[in-house]
């Protein structure tokens, strides 16, 4: 069932019965803005700390346990060019429990409480909730420096988006910005979110659609989401300048292992098979049968972890590896050799067949998770043209040939290289 509750307020209900849990997710979306990124992440944490009727972290956790271990999650993430402030509750399907007739409504009310009934004292957030979550976020941001894979990934992202200031601030925030956020500012951000962000509600699991629709209209959601909201304008980053002049940076740290991160833009011309870049990526470094895994790890024992990934919306291929500092030049040489191998059309029929099989398997296995249906509901609402139905997917997969794959590699342009050297 799909309903539009107001302008840019969407409700999708998927009453699938295969899971033991039910999940309700509410996404608040607006364009990424560097000055709002840290505030929205802090807001996510403060709202999940406590509410008007559950005024402490302990009270909210007690409520989750009462409802058979419901899991509340509030976070921000990048979704296209939007900042997505997502609230979700996942809970045990009452048909597996004894005497829990109000389980669905109770969880809907709990989620509504978290979104719409913040823990305010007068005209400000409760001081304990605000200061605790500000301190927690500060601690988390400092800890990032101790996670070298993340440091390396962020170093590469910073280079990739050097010309896009709104993407320069990581989605989980920035220490300098966090230091200066006040309770008043956070409340302004909150009121703006609740009044203006586009909203998508997805419900997946064993629910009676009509009953749920009635429940949500009668709940606080029905009251709070009556007004019209801002449109979402999709835009894409442009990497032309980086293609002409790739960005690079090398940092040194006292570490046991070094990390490298490489990024490539793949320009996809119209009419080209839409799955070709993903197949190319699988053959390059997507799994344990890939060129990078077999040549860099297995044959030359240079790295424990080496892989590539493809981001379909930005058309970027990235490669990451953890290795000894002395092996970096050799590894870079081997990586270039693997790209050349694909470019020169040396990919075997068996490699293509394997990659096709993996693509199909990944698609079907992902539908064994509840999150797959939540994400599908979001894409169907925000950007339906990116989705292929099963028939289109299999058709495009079967139409693929070696030339398509070589064509993707041919059009791969290095745009950024980050090295974190352990010494």
């Amino acid at each position: 069932m799909k309903q539009t509750l107001a302008k840019n307020v969407f409700l999708n209900i998927n009453p699938i019965k295969k899971f033991r849990t039910i999940k309700i997710q509410v996404d608040f979306l607006r364009p990424l803005k560097k000055d709002e990124t840290t505030g929205r992440r802090l807001l996510a944490n403060v709202l999940s700390n406590s509410t008007q009727n559950y005024p402490s972290f302990q009270a909210i956790n007690d409520r989750e346990m009462d409802l058979y271990g419901s899991e509340i999650n509030v976070y921000t993430r990048n979704l296209l060019n939007f900042n997505d402030l997502a609230f979700s509750v996942e809970f045990a399907d009452p048909s597996f429990l004894i005497g829990s007739q109000t389980q669905i409504k109770d969880n809907l009310d709990l989620l509504g409480e978290i979104i719409f009934k913040p823990n305010l004292k007068g005209s400000n957030f409760d001081e304990t909730a605000f200061s605790t979550e500000k301190r927690n976020l500060m601690s988390n941001l400092m800890s990032i420096q101790d996670n070298q894979d993340l440091v390396s990934a962020l170093g590469l992202i910073k280079l990739i988006y050097k010309n896009d200031p709104d993407r320069q601030v990581p989605i989980f925030g920035d220490i300098d910005q966090l230091e200066h956020i006040t309770g008043e500012q956070l409340l302004d951000i909150y009121q703006d979110v609740i009044a203006n962000d586009a909203v998508i509600i997805n419900v997946v699991g064993n629910v009676d659609q009509d009953k749920f629709l009635e429940d949500i209209k009668q709940s606080i959601f029905g009251q709070a989401l009556k007004g019209d909201r801002n449109d979402l304008q999709i835009t894409f980053s442009n990497f032309d300048d980086l293609v002409k002049q790739p960005a690079s940076e090398t940092e040194h740290k006292h570490l046991n292992q070094s990390r490298i991160g490489l990024a490539y833009e793949t320009s996809l011309s119209k009419g080209v098979n839409r799955l070709a870049p993903q197949i190319m990526n699988l053959i390059l470094g997507g799994d344990d049968q890939s060129q990078l895994f077999l040549q860099v790890r297995e044959k030359n024992s240079l790295a424990y972890s080496v892989s590539s990934s493809y981001q379909p919306l930005s058309h970027l291929v990235t490669i990451q590896a953890g290795l000894d500092a002395n092996s970096i030049d050799k590894a870079l040489h081997l990586i270039n050799e693997q790209i050349a191998y694909i470019k020169e059309g040396k990919v075997t029929d068996e490699q293509i067949r394997h990659a096709q099989k993996v693509m199909l398997t990944q698609r079907k296995i992902s539908s064994d998770t509840i999150q797959h249906y939540i994400m599908r509901g979001i894409w169907e609402t925000v950007y339906p043209k990116t989705l292929l139905n099963d028939e289109q997917f299999e058709q495009e997969l079967n139409d693929l040939d070696r030339a398509h794959i070589a064509g993707v590699a041919e059009n791969m342009h290095a745009i950024a290289q980050y090295q974190l050297i352990g010494d």
Partner: protein, 412 residues
């Protein structure tokens, strides 16, 4: 209509146990073969084995004459993987198609080693990189350090992958001997979750002719030294991290050990879980942040709890836990209402896990070694009473079985 899980179980004459769990509506079939053999099992038949040998076998068992067995899984449309824990080693596949062919590949994987001097040498470099990677992770380093305090000079305090030095002592000969001693049908089990025919699975396994190699291995129970006094060190990190450890020396095994683990988890949830007054107070006192967590482990003769997290005040972190983890504290907070909540939470967690064929298969495979039927866990949870928690806490929340370790940032 929603259906409760069922399983088919059989034990073959050679001791190999097979469990199959049909899972309606799921596309995948997930299979795991598990050996009751892990990183701590380094004293066997009166011989001391190098640290990391169980993990090395896990890596190298994929090598077959002229090919890597992951290629065969890939040919039959499956992802394959493996992992080693302190007491178990597991090999797994996940597939949409040809589950029976993939099962045959899994059986070939665990039954036919091909260790050579060359392939062992090349694997050392890869595993050494894996070890280096973990050494850059403070959470991992802290776990090793607190284990070294809880179990001084014990194999559990070693990295599961071993060390650069111990890797040098591993060769194709000791790999094969260790493999033969531990990868016996009566020391392994198999779980398949998904839409498969149980009889067909049973026939395939029977026809694979899984042989016992000689007599069962003599595994000595590791003798534990006195718990360490605690310690700390400086590291190139930004945030300090602290760990508080509790060791429970117990003779429990099988069903009782698993039940004990559930009870200890419930006690810890009551005392320092996110819904406890202590958690709130530690947060208010700025001793912890939201990385604070605890982990209760009960495997074979190892039974311990590690509580850890980032902190701005390591000393207060340790003091607070030392003062508040007690029977007396539990009595104060464990009301009937709280106990009911904790039980509900445990039942919910069990249902959440059933969304995942992977979680079902791995938990079931592991619990089989403790004679616990995964599908009876709710009954086990329901059998636990509030007084059981009070009783059990008296035994493990004592003054003389805890220790600590702090990792502090280097002063720049």
């Amino acid at each position: 209509m929603t259906q409760r899980l069922k399983n088919h179980v059989t034990k073959l004459p050679n001791g190999f146990q097979i469990s199959v769990v049909p899972l309606t509506g799921f596309n995948q079939v997930y299979g795991v073969a598990m050996a009751n053999f892990g990183s701590v099992d380094t004293l066997q038949n009166n011989k001391q084995l190098p640290a990391g040998i169980a993990h090395f076998i896990e890596h190298k068992l994929f090598a077959k004459p002229g090919y890597d067995i992951s290629e065969k899984f890939a040919k039959f449309g499956a992802n394959s993987n493996a992992y080693t824990s302190y007491t178990k080693t597991a090999y797994l596949f996940q597939t949409l198609e040809k589950p029976y062919e993939n099962l045959k590949v899994l059986l070939d994987l665990i039954q036919n080693p091909h260790f050579t001097a060359n392939n062992v040498a090349s694997e050392r470099g890869i595993i050494d990189q894996e070890i280096q990677m973990y050494l850059d992770m403070p959470e991992f380093v802290l776990e090793q350090k607190i284990l070294a305090q809880l179990y001084p000079n014990d194999p559990i305090a070693e990295d599961i992958a071993g060390s650069s030095e111990s890797l040098q002592q591993i060769n194709h000969k000791n790999l094969l001997e260790t493999y033969q001693n531990n990868y016996r049908p009566d020391n392994m089990d198999l779980v398949i979750v998904g839409d498969v025919d149980f009889e067909k699975i049973e026939n395939i396994v029977q026809n694979s002719n899984f042989q016992k190699n000689g007599a069962p291995v003599q595994k000595a129970l590791n003798q534990f030294e006195k718990i360490g006094a605690g310690g700390q060190e400086f590291m190139d990190i930004t945030q300090a991290r602290s760990a508080y450890g509790i060791r429970i020396d117990s003779d429990l095994s099988g069903y009782e050990l698993v039940r004990h683990q559930f009870m200890m988890n419930m006690v810890m949830e009551t005392l320092i879980g996110e819904s406890s007054p202590n958690y709130q107070e530690m947060s208010d006192l700025k001793i912890i942040d939201d990385s604070f967590s605890y982990n209760v482990v009960a495997e074979n003769n190892y039974c311990f709890i590690i509580i850890s997290g980032s902190t701005n005040n390591s000393e207060q972190f340790q003091e607070y836990l030392h003062d508040h983890l007690s029977y007396e504290s539990l009595v104060k907070v464990l009301s009937d209402e709280k106990f009911e909540r904790i039980k509900r939470d445990a039942i919910g967690a069990y249902l959440f896990a059933q969304n995942s064929p992977e979680a079902i298969a791995n938990q079931m495979a592991e619990l089989n070694f403790y004679d616990v039927d995964y599908l009876q866990l709710v009954e086990m949870i329901n059998s636990i009473q509030k007084d059981d928690l009070l009783e059990v806490s008296k035994k493990f929340l004592k003054d003389d079985n805890s220790t600590y370790y702090n990792l502090l940032p280097n002063r720049k």
